[in-house]
C-alpha cells in the first residue's frame, strides 16, 4: 500500500496485463505506437479523442487483433470477455443468446439454462427470456450482451464504448450492470466518450492520443489535475 499515487489500488494490486512496446501498423499508419503499459487496476478507463486508437488497443488486449510489434504479457492466465459498442444478437431468443457463450464452453444444457436465466435476471431482463433478441431495443440488446458475457464469469471484461449508442436511461442501466460486474470481482477495461461515466466507474485512466499513452493516472487525480496539456485540453473540450 501507499505507493506514490495516493495509495490507489492500481499501485497496490499486482499487474495483470503487461504491454511491451506494443504496436499495430496498417499500411504506413501507426495506429498503436509502441505502447508500454502495466495494467493492474480493477477498473480502468481508456480515454482519448476520436482516432486515438482506443478501440484498437482494446482489441489488441483481448486478442482480436494481432500486434505487428511488441508483446502482450499476461502474468497469469485470465478468462476474458468483451462487450462491443453495437451488440451482436443471434436470431433466437434472448435466453438462447445468453446460453450461446456457455454452449461454446461445453456447459451442459440444464446448467446452461440455469446460469443464463440467472444472468438475465441480473441485468433485469428475466421477463424477456423468450423474446426474440433482435427485436429488443438497443439498450435491452446491450444488456443481453452483458448477461451473455457475465454468465461466463470472465476474470477480465473489455468494454468498447458500451453506452455510445444508447439513450441516457439505458446508459445508466448499463453503467449499473458494469459496476456490479466489477463488484463481483471482474477486472474492467473500458473505452468511453462519456467522461462522467469514466469518472463514476474508473479507478485508473489511461489517456491515449495518436496511438500513444500520454498518461496513466488514478482517475481521481486525472480528472482533478491531468498531467499533460493534451489531456487537459481534451478534458476542457469534452466537458460540457
Amino acid at each position: 500500500m501507499g505507493g506514490k499515487a495516493l495509495g490507489m489500488s492500481h499501485e497496490s494490486n499486482c499487474t495483470w496485463l503487461h504491454l511491451d512496446q506494443l504496436g499495430l501498423t496498417e499500411g504506413n499508419i501507426r495506429i498503436i505506437d509502441a505502447i508500454t503499459l502495466k495494467v493492474g487496476a480493477g477498473r480502468t478507463a481508456i480515454l482519448g479523442p476520436n482516432g486515438a486508437g482506443k478501440s484498437t488497443l482494446l482489441r489488441l488486449m483481448h486478442g482480436l487483433l494481432r500486434p505487428s510489434a511488441g508483446k502482450l504479457h499476461w502474468p497469469q492466465t485470465l478468462s476474458q470477455g468483451m462487450v462491443f459498442q453495437r451488440p451482436v444478437m443471434l436470431r433466437t431468443t434472448a435466453l438462447a443468446n445468453v446460453a450461446y457463450g456457455l454452449k461454446l464452453r461445453g456447459v451442459a444444457t440444464k446448467e446452461r439454462q440455469q446460469r443464463s436465466m440467472t444472468a438475465l435476471a441480473r441485468v433485469g431482463l428475466a421477463d424477456f427470456a423468450d423474446r426474440p433478441a433482435r427485436r429488443l431495443s438497443g439498450g435491452e440488446q446491450q444488456r443481453v450482451a452483458l448477461a451473455r458475457v457475465w454468465a461466463l464469469e470472465p476474470q477480465v471484461l473489455f468494454l468498447d464504448e458500451p453506452t455510445a449508442s444508447l439513450d441516457p436511461a439505458s446508459s445508466r442501466e448499463v453503467e449499473r450492470i458494469i459496476k456490479e460486474i466489477a463488484a463481483s470481482g471482474t477486472r474492467i477495461v473500458m473505452t468511453t466518450h462519456n467522461l462522467g461515466q469514466a469518472r463514476r466507474i474508473a479507478e485508473e485512466v489511461i489517456y491515449l492520443e495518436g496511438g500513444r499513452v500520454l498518461e496513466q493516472t488514478p482517475a481521481e487525480s486525472f480528472f482533478r489535475q491531468p498531467q499533460t496539456t493534451a489531456a487537459r485540453s481534451f478534458l476542457q473540450e469534452e466537458t460540457p
Binding site: G81, F84, R135
Partner: protein
C-alpha cells in the same frame, strides 16, 4: 391466335379432369427437383459457409470457380453425368442411366454451385458483422460457420429457391440422362419440349402453366416465410 385459344381451352380441360398422365408428370418433376434441391442444400450450404469463413489456400480460386459454375450449361452437365452413368462409364455398373435417380444426380450437380455461391454471400455478410463477437465468445471458424448458417436460415431460403427454380426449369440435363421415357422419366420440361415438337400444344401449354404456377407459388411461400421471420426474429 385461334390455335392458342383452342389449346388453352383443351389445357383447361386436362386440368379439370385431373388427367392422370399430367399429374404423374408434375409429381415426378417435383420429386426429382425437390430431392435435387435438398441434396444441393445439404452439400452447398455448408460448403458456402466454409468458403465464407474459412482460411485455406485456394479459397479465392474456389470462390471464383463456384461463381463461374453457377452458369453451368445443363446440357453439359447432362452429358458428363451421361458419360459417368452409361454402361461403359465408371458408374455404369449401377444401371442408373435413364432413371429418376440419374436426373436427381444431374440436377444436384447443376445447382450445387448456385446454392454454394449464394450461401457464401449470405454467410460472408453475416460473418463481417458477427466475426468479432463470435471470436470473443470463443467460437472457432467451424463453429462460427455452423452458427452463421443457422442464423441466416431465412436468408438462405433464397439460395435454396434459386437452386430449385433452376432445377425444375431446366430441360437439357434431365433430357439427356433421363431419356424422356413415358411414365418413367418424363418431367414437365421434357414433355413440353417433346409435345411442342409433336404439335400437341394443349398438354404442353397445360404443363407450361403448371410449371409457372409451381415456381410462383414456391416463391410466394418463401417470400411470406422471410417476411414472417423478419417480423418475428429481426
Amino acid at each position: 391466335m385461334h390455335e392458342m385459344t383452342t389449346s388453352l381451352a383443351l389445357a383447361g380441360e386436362l386440368f379439370a379432369q385431373g388427367d392422370s398422365q399430367l399429374l404423374a408428370i408434375v409429381l415426378l418433376s417435383l420429386r426429382v427437383s425437390l430431392t435435387a434441391t435438398l441434396l444441393a442444400c445439404l452439400i452447398g450450404m455448408p460448403l458456402g459457409a466454409l468458403l465464407a469463413v474459412g482460411r485455406f489456400p485456394g479459397r479465392r480460386t474456389l470462390i471464383v470457380l463456384f461463381n463461374a459454375l453457377m452458369g453451368l450449361p445443363p446440357v453439359v452437365v447432362g452429358l458428363i453425368v451421361y458419360l459417368l452413368l452409361s454402361r461403359a462409364g465408371p458408374l455404369g455398373q449401377f444401371g442408373l442411366l435413364f432413371t429418376p435417380t440419374a436426373m436427381v444426380i444431374a440436377q444436384t450437380i447443376l445447382i450445387v454451385p448456385i446454392v454454394a455461391a449464394l450461401s457464401r454471400q449470405v454467410v460472408e455478410d453475416a460473418w463481417r458483422e458477427y466475426r468479432e463477437q463470435l471470436r470473443s465468445l470463443g467460437a472457432n471458424r467451424l463453429r462460427a460457420a455452423r452458427t452463421l448458417l443457422w442464423d441466416g436460415r431465412f436468408s438462405l431460403t433464397t439460395a435454396g429457391l434459386a437452386g430449385f427454380g433452376r432445377a425444375v426449369a431446366e430441360v437439357g440435363a434431365v433430357m439427356i440422362v433421363g431419356g424422356n421415357i413415358d411414365g418413367v422419366t418424363r418431367v414437365m420440361t421434357t414433355t413440353i419440349a417433346l409435345e411442342t415438337s409433336k404439335g400437341d400444344l394443349p398438354l404442353a401449354l397445360a404443363l407450361g402453366m403448371i410449371l409457372i404456377a409451381v415456381v410462383l407459388l414456391i416463391n410466394i411461400a418463401a417470400f411470406l416465410l422471410r417476411q414472417w421471420a423478419e417480423r418475428r426474429w429481426g
